[in-house]
Symmetry: C2
Subunit: 228 residues, 2 copies
């Protein structure tokens, strides 16, 4: 699915919670959390005011405070990730018919593509540079849901370095695709991305760290002498 087509790619002017017709408190609470995730992801923590979040959810700002006490608390609740990885993700990670890199990348991208987790993760990535709690949350997320399930499989040297390199590529794709939202990586299908990037994740996780096993030269590529 194209990112531009995703229903949460902008903060909507209207909301599913119509004024005048009262919803149950649970549905209203969920509507506020959804609006909060979209606003934090699009505007960042500081600019996503309670007033804006309330407007996006179609409720009164006082009601938001009544539910969540403070913006700080709302942020913490909104960006809390599900405690257990989804069935889809587990299915992806345990599908042994594919290499480790494909499985990791597939599970990771499917999580980002799911509307709930995707909004939450984007909000965290956008806020991680300036909010230690967001940084902590996305770090824990990467560790618990992406790295730990595969770490047991890498019985190799330099495990920490392998995990860090994998993280750098995973964070980089998410940043270009879901935050910058530009270029071929924002428009590509998940399957195409897996095809392009899984060999790299696989190399980082299981390859020769001296880089001797990446014969990157395409026969069609003739290096020009830039200096002459």
């Amino acid at each position: 699915m194209k990112v531009a087509d995703r229903p949460h790619s902008s903060v909507p002017a209207h909301s599913p919670a119509k004024r005048g017709r009262r919803q149950g408190p649970t549905r209203t609470r969920e509507a506020v959390l959804d609006a909060a995730r979209r606003c934090f992801g699009k505007l960042g923590y500081e600019k996503a005011t309670l007033r804006r979040i309330a407007a996006a959810a179609g409720v009164d700002p006082a009601l938001v405070l009544q539910f969540f006490t403070s913006k700080e608390q709302l942020f913490r609740t909104a960006v809390r990730l599900p405690q257990a990885p989804s069935t889809l993700q587990v299915a992806g990670l345990t599908d042994t018919s594919r290499d480790l890199g494909s499985r990791v990348l597939h599970a990771y991208l499917h999580l980002w593509e799911s509307p709930d987790a995707g909004d939450t993760l984007t909000a965290l990535l956008v806020s991680a540079g300036t909010r230690p709690d967001a940084l902590q949350a996305i770090r824990h997320h990467l560790r618990d849901y992406t790295i730990q399930p595969v770490a047991a499989e890498i019985g190799l040297d330099a495990q920490q370095t392998r995990i860090a390199l994998t993280t750098s590529q995973l964070v980089g794709i998410a940043y270009v695709r879901y935050v910058m939202r530009t270029g071929p990586l924002a428009e590509a299908s998940v399957d195409h991305l897996v095809e392009l990037i899984a060999p790299i994740i696989n190399h980082y996780l299981t390859g020769d760290m001296s880089g001797q096993d990446v014969p990157a030269m395409n026969p069609a590529y003739n290096e020009k002498s830039v200096g002459s």
Copy 2:
């Protein structure tokens, strides 16, 4: 150099511009810009108030406004990158004794390691998720100083995709090393990072896009059957 050792890794409590002893306007202006870059990079645009920036520069907030009119304008001026790439960068990019991936990564990391550009780029990366001008600036920076100098060398298929993949890995390293500042990638030397990641950049720029040329399997790695 370890990131933690970098002088700008936290906003300093004191400032080189001592009160009581007047500096020339040019030096004061530069001190404000330096403080602004550090504050925007550490706190993000919203939290980096004029008051905090002025305190970090050791000047009166009124003086900051006198120089830069508004916080908006200060941000634009502070994160304006040098118009021409540094000699170091050009030297790195034209050193034909090394492969294209090494040259690109070396030039890129050396720019991030330089105190001036590094602070500016970190400020941009932290703000790019929520500020279109920061997003535009870092995109232009990547294009003009990192991608365009090498694009002419890639006379291959899928040039846009190659550039996007390269960007995702470059942005990912910068994010993990300079924003998240954790793990082996934050502590590694530039040379070690080039050693680890250049083969990947080289693959993205010049390799076989079907991934057939990345034999990521280390002989020491024995894939376990997770399901059984």
